[in-house]
Amino acid sequence: EPEVTQTPSHQVTQMGQEVILRCVPISNHLYFYWYRQILGQKVEFLVSFYNNEISEKSEIFDDQFSVERPDGSNFTLKIRSTKLEDSAMYFCASSGDREIYGYTFGSGTRLTVV
């Protein structure tokens, strides 16, 4: 069964550093998303991406964050100048016909900012 692949599974970074979280969505999907889950809290929407541009973003997704689809397969989330409160599990998701099949999530990247 097709999967959404995320790398790395765990990343530790120093406060103030930049990190890039990587995702390979399912190949024939057109819609891409990033969500995050702070430990013990609910899953929160960050951004959606369609047709090579951001289609929607949340209040969390400020200038510190950016997304990119650098080629036909990868989808990245860049977090600049990381803060302690950015520590969370970050999930990438993709969907084809989301009205029928919902979303396929990756296994997540656990980001720890120290």
Binding site: K42, V43, S48, Y50, F91, Y103, T104
Partner: protein, 111 residues
């Protein structure tokens, strides 16, 4: 803001019993989805029910939706130890892309 509220927050049952989890929400939805999350892992899509549907089945899962009461339930029949996980409802509203997740029900199946 729109989000689902699941209840109960935690549920422990014996293996073989049925488990029922509920989700309530506040505003109109396009569809409602249920996801499972094993501890520290990703979210697995279980089932999607549209606003014009009342009931859907998938294997041992049965989902109902009552738009007049703004609530949904997820029933897992003949539970197994492997069903131990957190279960989330997620709401899709008209006109926007995002899913809004609820707070989840932590289900524990006792062998």
């Amino acid at each position: 803001s729109q989000q689902g509220e699941e209840d109960p927050q935690a549920l422990s049952i014996q293996e073989g019993e049925n488990a029922t989890m509920n989700c309530s929400y506040k505003t109109s939805i396009n569809n409602l989805q249920w996801y499972r999350q094993n501890s520290g892992r990703g979210l697995v899509h279980l089932i999607l029910i549209r606003s014009n549907e009342r009931e859907k089945h998938s294997g041992r899962l049965r989902v109902t939706l009552d738009t007049s009461k703004k609530s949904s339930s997820l029933l897992i029949t003949a539970s197994r130890a492997a069903d131990t996980a957190s279960y989330f409802c997620a709401l899709s509203n008209f006109g926007n892309e995002k899913l809004t997740f609820g707070t989840g029900t932590r289900l524990t199946i006792i062998p």
